[in-house]
Symmetry: C2
Subunit: 469 residues, 2 copies
């Protein structure tokens, strides 16, 4: 993947005055070491790193406000950083500047089980959060796979395996504390479950990828841990059968908690990595949440639908250890796929289409990938119409990068033609900016650019990402 044209032209070295001002506040928590900068200038995308000039490790919202104010004063770009698990080049320091590492802002500030809410600092990760609230009987469902920070998941508009039942970050963030481009600290909403009090700043910051402000605190919805959980895996002769099973399940309104597709190649990869003996055929993984009776009822209905669509075997995993093994394999599928081709990186597509078009969309995608020189296993959150194609390319081979990008563009164009989106949950970053105009049109892009310009008139907040101004 090529870096965008001459980004380094935009890069100006930080002034000694600016660095001194930062060091006076942060001392050891300011780093300009190569290794630290390099780590903060990359994510899980196939882009080569573009390090920031400096990294600061912030501990409080006031410190974030101070960094932003200094950056505004000196016209220095800044990029919020969680754990670096984004997939589209969100974190790359195109114009240099400061990476604001929020991972030390990792306190759960308030647990309000009586209101089904928690308030956390942006650097709390989703696993940490669930660990800390486990004893309350509640859980936070959004699970994008990676143990991302809650701030990063919000900035990206993440979702993942549980979204089919519990929604995405958009539906599960109640309120944010944000530092604006001028270093002001703003709270976007109160802790009420719903509100019509003015423009929805909360949802505007969800998915804004650090380009409109720095998210520092979040109030989230949590859910009672289900009384009963069961999981099942089910192999199908074709991807079409698996997808049709999903569609019928959704259309009947069965409140499945998770519904994941792995194509035969992904199953193969998972078998190798996790030493499983799954049949190397298209596979659906289901999870059911509810009362004991409710879970049995849901599962029986889904089993019947699956059998009508030629399911080979419907296997239960009601024991927690079996469930964990199955879902760990799913979560590691991305890494399992990478091992199919040593030395490769994955160009991961993320289209999402209306579910009625999903079977067709995946079938045509498989036809494309079968004709390609690159392996491209498919997996996805099919209950939402969202799937990923992990196009495996060796970044040292230009012809493979070209082929990966060709496939990527083909898949996005097909999704858009089916009234779908170029990204269901990974966000735009650098890599999908070219698709936004195709998806939304010039006039909608102009509205987005106006928001960007009015929130960040100096263009210092993660510049060069999401929308061009």
């Amino acid at each position: 993947m090529n870096a965008p044209a001459s980004p380094h032209n935009l890069r100006k070295p930080l002034s000694a005055e600016f660095i001194d001002a930062l060091r006076a506040v942060f001392g050891e928590r300011l780093s300009t070491a190569d290794a630290v900068r390099e780590q903060h200038g990359r994510d899980e995308s196939p882009y080569p790193p573009m390090p920031p000039d400096a990294v600061v490790f912030v501990k409080t919202t006031d410190e974030v406000a101070l960094v932003v104010s200094l950056c505004a004063c000196h016209r220095v770009p800044l990029i919020p950083y969680g754990v670096g698990s984004s997939l589209e080049g969100h974190l790359l320091a195109l114009q240099g500047g400061v990476s604001v590492d929020l991972s030390q802002m990792n306190r759960v500030l308030a647990i309000n089980p009586e209101d089904l809410t928690v308030t956390v600092q942006a650097g709390v990760t989703r696993k940490q959060l669930n660990q800390e609230i486990r004893d309350t009987g509640f859980f936070f469902p959004i699970d994008p796979g990676a143990d991302a920070t809650i701030g990063g998941m919000t900035a990206t508009g993440a979702s993942g395996t549980n979204a089919v039942r519990y929604g995405t970050m958009r539906e599960n963030v109640l309120a944010l504390q944000v530092v604006t481009g001028e270093g002001k600290i703003v709270r976007t909403a109160r802790r009420a479950k719903k509100s019509s009090a003015g423009y929805d700043l909360t949802r505007l910051f969800v998915g804004s990828e650090g380009t409109l402000g720095v998210i520092t605190e979040l109030t989230l919805r949590v859910y009672p841990q289900p009384e009963a959980v069961s999981a099942a895996s089910c192999s199908f002769p074709t991807v079409e059968d698996a997808v049709q099973t999903t569609i019928a399940t959704i259309q009947m309104g069965i409140p499945i908690a998770r519904c994941e597709l792995l194509d035969a190649l992904t199953v193969k990869a998972v078998n190798v990595r996790d030493k499983l003996g799954l049949p190397e055929m298209p596979l659906l993984l289901f999870e059911f949440h509810g009362s004991a009776a409710g879970v049995s009822e849901q599962a029986a209905m889904v089993e019947e639908i699956a059998r009508e669509h030629g399911a080979a075997a419907f296997e239960w995993a009601t024991r927690p250890e079996d469930r964990t093994r199955l879902w760990e394999a799913r979560h590691n599928a991305y890494f399992a796929c990478l091992q199919l081709k040593p030395g490769c990186r994955s160009f991961t597509t993320d289209v999402c289409v209306p579910i009625s078009r999903l079977a067709e969309c995946i079938a045509e995608t498989i036809r494309d990938t079968e004709q390609s020189s690159l392996p491209a296993p498919i997996l996805g959150h099919v209950g939402d119409g969202n799937f990923h194609c992990a196009i495996l390319a060796d970044p040292s081979k230009p012809e493979e990068l070209v082929e990966a990008e060709r496939l990527n563009e083909l898949i996005v164009a097909r999704a858009l033609a089916m009234d779908g989106t170029c990204t269901g949950e990974h966000g735009v970053g650098m890599h999908k900016m070219k698709f936004l105009r195709q998806e939304h049109g010039d006039d909608a892009l102009e509205l987005m650019a106006r928001i960007k310009r009015s929130f960040d008139p100096l263009d210092i907040l993660n510049p060069g990402k999401v929308v061009r101004v």
Copy 2:
């Protein structure tokens, strides 16, 4: 309720040139008749009418674009109009201008049961929509009581009785077609169930009350009609008991579809209007959706919780006609309350608080209203922490208006102190603008104002509402 200071100073008569241009396009569908203007210059709020200078009845998005372009060219304000059921003076023509009546844009454009979506023009009402999709086996759950238009419900950020289970308009609008302040036609999103493709324009227009653009088409989520529905009503010795029952139900994660509170005074009003014989005590109305077994299970759990909180009687209404009677009474409760005091108007509060504070919030509100000279029945969507106090005042008596506003401010201040919002679902309009700053603070208001200025630089889109620029 006093009109804001000298709005008529801002009013300039429409030029003959502008009127001629409109008439050339709309002919008979342009009206400057007093009765028509008067009808379009009021809503269900207690404000006296402020009529627009003209009303146009549009039939297509292109016509809306044309009206907006003409208004932009001549710097004439415009106000989108659905059925006039807003409650906070949203529609009043503070600066005159044109009311754009969308009620003739009332076509259901696409029904996609396979994707659980429908696409409608903005003037379709919620009852019409449910009528038109009934045979598909799906329904649109959002139900604010009034038979409002879908466009108006979206512009207001409405919700209502079903929100506790199905969410608000925010969660149920997938995509919008909007005419911008420059007369451009924009689509905010595709029809995919989720997307992270750029800033969330959809959610920004939800709740924007016609101040950022004119919503002309909407794609909505619909849901399978539940296999089984049952309803129950349940009387309690105190409001506290009823609210504690609600809180326990929510905290246990029981997926109730509706949970409505009527205080004793509201029950009395409903008994008179609808000739019911309900005990004149605080009442909860429940509705359960699901499979036959699921509904029984939910209802049994709620009944047990209610009995633990001193419920006097738990009465079932499984027959559709009994259910309809109960819910019609609930829907008409607002009008029943108005009849408690002939000639009055209702100052309807709309606070929403974290549910753990709800019992306290309502109890203190009742103490205030009991000490007031004005009757103020309480009813609300307690499952969401949202309730309304219908403060009944005679608009011809200045002392009653002062007292109503005093109560209103007291109730809002209490909700804000409890980390709640001044409006759960009615929106801001004119009446709640003063509370927005208290709720969000200066810096958040400045962000909202920037959005307004950048989307509507001429300040012609429903000017003087939501945020001051």
